[in-house]
């Protein structure tokens, strides 16, 4: 497979924020609710939760689910 320019651009964006230590998708699922609530509150986001943001920047699936979760809790 020869990746397209769009796919390569997406990969470059991921490489730019790739960190030596990252959370995996299972761990993100356990904490993403807390992350969402922290971002909605005006309090600063705890360092553990900052790793969630980093994961969302490198993982399109978890980002898609985070956006869906945001829609789901809209009128809660």
């Amino acid at each position: 497979m020869d990746p397209s320019r769009e796919q390569l651009a997406a990969l470059v964006r991921q490489l730019a924020v790739t960190a030596p230590e990252e959370l995996d998708c299972e761990t993100v699922l356990r904490h993403v609710a807390a992350y969402l609530e922290a971002t909605h509150a005006d309090a600063p986001v705890a360092p553990e939760l900052a790793m969630i943001r980093q994961h969302l920047d490198v993982c399109p699936s978890c980002l898609e689910e985070f956006e869906a979760l945001t829609r789901a809790v809209e009128s809660d």
Partner: protein, 214 residues
């Protein structure tokens, strides 16, 4: 005598847990959880044209079962309802992605996860070249070809092609966490390889800045 109660009665996290643990599958709190998941999934999946009411019923049922099976892992870091919704969304999207992807394999995408050698085609990048967009892409293509293991390459290319991670993990005969690690190791290698090929962090940032301007 039974009094009428709103299904949306507010519960604390502790009440949710205690009631869900003690109830049978047709209990009032299980029903409240099901309603919560259904309405949240309806909002979450609103932009998806290929989700029917029957799908929503199925997702809700699967999500309810999953949440009930994972009560022990709830740590109380958030509202119970937000945590449950995150699980419900994972359940729904995993099914949706599989369905949309169909049965296409890595082979169908032209990705060989067992190849011992890099694909043919010498791709050279000029070391020290300015971060011209096409040069960066050329270097990245060359690095994918020659700086990754076959499995790392398959993990990166499969994800770029949009293959769902559950499908990709099965194709590589591994699990989701090991797949993530494979992909993470690949990204670290590619970044190092780009540096070796003369593209600095700031070249990459310049590229991203230009790309964001269109």
């Amino acid at each position: 005598m039974r009094t009428m109660r709103s299904p949306q009665r507010e519960r604390t996290n502790e009440q949710w847990l205690a009631e869900l643990r003690s109830e049978s599958a047709d209990g009032e709190t299980v029903e409240a959880l099901r309603e919560h998941l259904r309405s949240g999934l309806t909002r979450a999946l609103r932009p998806q044209a290929d989700v029917s009411d029957a799908d929503l019923d199925d997702f809700t049922q699967d999500a309810t079962v999953r949440v009930l099976s994972q009560l022990a892992s709830f740590r109380g870091e958030s509202r119970f309802t937000t945590w449950a919704m995150a699980i419900g969304i994972r359940v729904a999207y995993t099914t949706l992605r599989r369905r949309r992807w169909g049965d296409r394999s890595l082979e169908d995408l032209g990705i060989d996860a067992d190849a011992s050698a890099a694909p043919a085609g010498a791709r050279s990048a000029r070391p020290g070249a300015a971060a011209d967009r096409s040069d960066l892409f050329q270097a990245l293509r060359a690095s994918i070809d020659s700086d990754l293991t076959p499995r790392q390459r398959a993990a990166v290319l499969g994800e770029l092609a949009g293959m769902p991670s559950a499908v990709l993990a099965a194709q590589l005969q591994t699990n989701a966490n090991a797949l993530y690690k494979l992909n993470h190791d690949a990204r670290l290698r590619l970044r190092d390889a780009l540096h070796r090929r003369g593209f600095s962090e700031s070249d990459v940032r310049t590229f991203l800045l230009e790309a964001s301007r269109g």
